[in-house]
Amino acid sequence: MRSDGANLLAVDQLSVTYTGRGARTPAVRNVSFTVGQGEVVALVGGSGSGKSTVALALTRLLPPDAEVEGRVLLEGEDLLAASEPALRRARGGRIAYVFQDPATSLNPVLTVGEQLREMIEQHTDQRGRAARDASVEWLGQVGIPEPERRLGAYPHEFSGGMQQRVMIAMALAARPALLVADEPTTALDVTVQVQVLRVLRELQQRLGLSVLLITHDLLIVERLAHRVVVMDRGEAVEAGDVATVFAQPRHPATRLLLESRPALPLGGAHG
């Protein structure tokens, strides 16, 4: 399942500085990492460590006062140097995002089917009937029962876990090269977290997805990720295989994260 061949994504010396109100505030400093084809890489760190900033910087989604330096190579092409139309196609089409809170990430006045179809028609060449069929199929893929019937339902008619599945379906329906999951389970109930994680892991293995997983929760890292990059105060302080890093943490920030993990018998990443 994991091929260590060419890197799908290579982030090279990425720095982000906020320049608002005259002051220069560095948020990310010289971060480099790679994500291989079919690989799950976790970007972990506490609040304010810059992990979400890295995620948004990949497709230049940061506010205009953010200064981004370095290179983001997706399939060899530098996205930071790309034109705005190319970037817009890349957003969602080549790099798709799933965010923390599905309840607020879906448009409340459009049905789930409309939102899915919009994604499909915008980023693939399926239209009309074909796009609708694809919507049904993706809802099924993420484990939503009776997907045909649920197409006409509005987001508020779904539970939190089901909403997040819809978000995952929307993100994957555009067939992106890379899925960026930014705290995908943080806003959910603990029992629902487990279900959504299971869906993500199953899809990742079945479809060979490449995933950049952003989280502060090391349990999720253990269950999903192959490699981990630890961030602390805007810098990447440690990187390596999940098992190695967790067994022998070298940086204090990594140790702190490991110590703050609740001791639950949940098993390892591939068990």
Binding site: L61, R88, R91, A96, A103, L106, N107, P108, V109, H156
Partner: protein
């Protein structure tokens, strides 16, 4: 964290529990039916002059009597419903279209664009509508189309402010940000995500606006600047009745009541919609 729930049934549910609101809703439904079916429902041709039958009081054959030219007042009122509702709806549609476009662009773009557009709104608000109406009518001549256009063109500023305020808060909401990250263009963000979510308050304003537009049309027609006789509108029926006020109350009371009840019904339904939206 707030979850918005769009429950259409909450609005209709209230219709059942509030008798005044239900009555207002029924009045509007009845008026709409009357407007559509006026040619079949009216007992006489509203333009049919019959001087032998002039100024008859209400009776079995003319329920609301006849005017100085012997035309049936009830039939003229029924056809007047058409004009009044049409003017109200089209004028407000014009206002909503312009107001939504201006407000959405101002709220979304922000910065200098916002400042320029909103100052334009202030200028329009400061401009005395009635002079603008009179000037345009003096130049183009009174007609129902000029009335609709002018009422629409002077009534969009409130909608623009509402939509701008909604868009300002909506554009920071996560689902708008999320669709941006999934590659939505500016046009799509505006038309699919921002404007549809801003429509609640606009619907309320539009309902209230229809009542106001009907009132303006009646006033202009009463002054002889609106719908031109012999075509009947509530305002010009009143105007024609003015000359016979002392002898024929039935020329004044029915169109006056029609205007009163219709405008009141629009206001009550508008307020009901506002409550329903606030409640959700």
């Amino acid at each position: 964290m707030t979850k918005i729930r769009v429950r259409p049934q909450s609005g209709f549910g209230r219709l059942g529990s509030d008798p005044v609101l239900a009555a207002a809703g029924l009045v509007l439904a009845g008026l709409a039916l009357l407007a559509v079916f006026a040619p079949w429902a009216a007992p006489y041709d509203p333009l049919d002059v019959n001087l032998a039958q002039a100024l008859l009081p209400p009776s079995g054959s003319h329920w609301l009597g006849t005017d100085p030219l012997g035309r049936d007042v009830l039939s003229r009122l029924m056809f007047g419903t058409r004009i009044s509702l049409l003017v109200g709806l089209i004028a407000v549609s014009v206002a909503v279209l312009i107001g939504t476009a201006v407000g959405a662009v101002a709220g979304f773009a922000g910065g200098r664009v916002d400042t320029v557009l909103m100052r334009a709104v202030d200028v329009m608000l400061a401009f005395p509508d009635i002079f603008l109406l009179l000037t345009v009518i003096a130049m183009l001549g009174p007609s129902i189309y000029v009335i609709m256009a002018v009422i629409g063109l002077t009534g969009w500023m409130g909608v623009a402010r509402l939509v701008r305020a909604e868009v300002l808060s909506l554009k920071e909401r996560e689902f708008v940000q999320a669709s941006r990250t999934l590659g939505a263009s500016t046009w799509r963000l505006l038309t699919r995500h921002l404007i549809p979510n801003a429509m609640g308050p606009v619907l309320v304003a539009a309902t209230l606006g229809v009542g106001g537009a009907i009132l303006t049309e009646s006033a202009l027609s009463f002054l002889g600047l609106g719908v031109q006789p012999p075509e009947p509108s509530w305002g010009n029926i009143l105007n024609e009745g003015r000359v016979a006020l002392g002898v024929a109350w039935w020329l004044i009371v029915p169109p006056g009541l029609a205007i009163l009840i219709t405008v009141l019904a629009f206001y009550i339904v508008g307020e009901g919609l506002r409550d329903a939206l606030r409640r959700r």
